[in-house]
Amino acid sequence: MTCLPKMTDKKLGLVIDLDTCVGCHACVVSCKGWNTENYGAPLADQDAYGEMPVGTFLNRVHSYEVQPEDGLAQLVHLPKSCLHCDDAPCVTVCPTGASYKRTEDGIVLVNETDCIGCGLCAWACPYGARELDGAEKVMKKCTLCVDRIYNENLPQEDRIPACVRTCPSGARHFGDLGDPNSDVSKLVAERGGMDLMPELGTKPVNKYLPPRPKDQLSSDQTPTQSLQAQADNPAGFFAWLDRTLEKL
């Protein structure tokens, strides 16, 4: 049923630390690997070794430059996957019931045998979290590795989403965001976790931790400023060279 549950017992989701992410795309690769070999249709590529390769991914890492009014530009890497929204617009538009939000843990899933591949859910998602698979013609999206997190055949430490397990910089955290005492909820409270496009009212479960404020360098401490200072007030050999060249 594509009506959304009034509430879910848990709100399983990810907390992604934009301060720590180094933009290595390891989460993208591990996600593609796990989800190609496990739950549902594989994530297909077309023309993988040709001129115009395209493929289905459930997680993608964008990189942005943030230029403060005063100071140095920063590079921020932003991994983006399904945010498992509380008010998921992708679910309610689905005509077949293929898309649904689970009452027990809030994970948004697609039942691929019911999906007609109309694409309307991808139209309704602001985040580009859903991609129609080029080979299977069904909608693919992050499952929060539902086939890992409850999988008793895996060792305990592997019962987390593949992207979280893989992240070498510890930028990805998994847990119950509905429980205010969970580690992830505390992290969100402590670091001022935020929603992407809050104005659209999707109420994402996944949160992003903003980059921490950088050390404030005084104006003569920034790399370019100190170089300028050297050029303006040369010392030693360069001072002699400067004086000599001036005389010519």
Binding site: T2, V66, L78, P95, I116, C118, L196
Partner: protein, 291 residues
């Protein structure tokens, strides 16, 4: 948005078809026998033909029957139901007029109302999407309904109604274009809100996640045609509204009437192409497009 031919043909043709069936339901005209058959056949060819085109858009058309299950939440599912019910109810009225030379007034009026409701539900599929600010306005259903009534009036030969409605349609379409051009900016979604990084400074897309294209770019970040949008808008208005009005003002002639229908439908197709090609999805923000 990617202007898929299947969706353009579906919304355009089914709109015209349900528009004609709406007027036949109102008894304007109320033909019987062979005449009724021809009128209803044209309506059904447009309406059903349009609906068939919509299935070409699907990845798995063989499962299309499942689209009838989620009418409680999904406008697409509601549209499927309304289309089938409208065609069935109108079909009963058609059988009465074609084979029994009887107009079943209540059935006909119910069919007319259902035809308009079907067009309304088609429009709501687009209107509901907050992700496409240009569509996320009451103007979308208003326009779709006016398109259907104008096309229906033209096909059913209601010249007195067709003329003012075609004029109204042209005015509404121009208003919708002007309003739509500022919709994205008014929506409040920016690269800053999309990334949450706006408080630290101005945000610029530095490096995309992939060097090639993907489903999202092909489907939502479509840019072809923007260059000629102004010309295409002019062409659309002339074809869908201007020329048909002129042709209807001229002394009545079947050739002129047919020509008016043809130019109108051509104009609808151009404007519907623009409806999709000019629609900007907010996901483009993540790729440094828009704004």
């Amino acid at each position: 948005m990617h202007p898929a031919p299947s969706v353009i043909l579906f919304t355009s043709l089914s709109g015209v078809g349900f528009g004609l069936l709406f007027f036949l339901g109102l008894g304007m005209p109320a033909p019987v026998g062979l005449n009724a058959f021809i009128f209803y056949a044209i309506g059904y060819v447009f309406a059903v033909g349009g609906l068939l085109f919509s299935t070409f858009h699907l990845g798995h058309p063989e499962r299309a029957i499942k689209a009838f299950t989620q009418w409680r939440s999904s406008w697409l599912s509601r549209e499927a139901w309304l289309a089938v019910i409208a065609l069935c109810v109108t079909g009963v009225a058609a059988v009465g007029q074609i084979f029994f030379e009887t107009r079943l007034a209540i059935v006909s009026y119910a069919g007319a109302a259902l035809c308009l409701l079907t067009v309304f539900s088609t429009a709501m599929i687009y209107r509901q999407l907050a992700t496409v600010p240009r569509w996320h306005t009451p103007m979308t259903p208003v326009l779709f309904l006016t398109y259907a009534v104008a096309g229906g009036a033209l096909l059913s030969g209601q010249v007195g109604i067709a003329q003012p409605v075609l004029g109204l349609l042209g005015a509404l379409q121009i208003f919708a274009w002007i309003q739509g051009d500022g919709a994205f900016a008014r929506s409040g979604s920016t690269l800053a809100s999309a990334t949450g990084l706006g408080t630290n400074g101005s945000v610029r897309a530095f490096e995309p996640p992939h060097t090639g294209t993907n489903y999202l770019l092909q489907e939502f970040v479509y840019v072809v045609g923007r260059k000629h949008a102004a010309k295409l808008r002019l062409i659309a208005i002339i074809l869908l509204s201007g020329l048909p009005i002129v042709l209807l003002v001229l002394p009545f002639n079947h050739m002129f009437a047919a020509l008016a229908v043809l130019t109108h439908v051509a104009g609808v197709l151009v404007s519907r192409w623009l409806f999709f090609a000019q629609a900007e999805h907010v996901v483009g923000l993540y790729y440094g497009k828009r704004g």
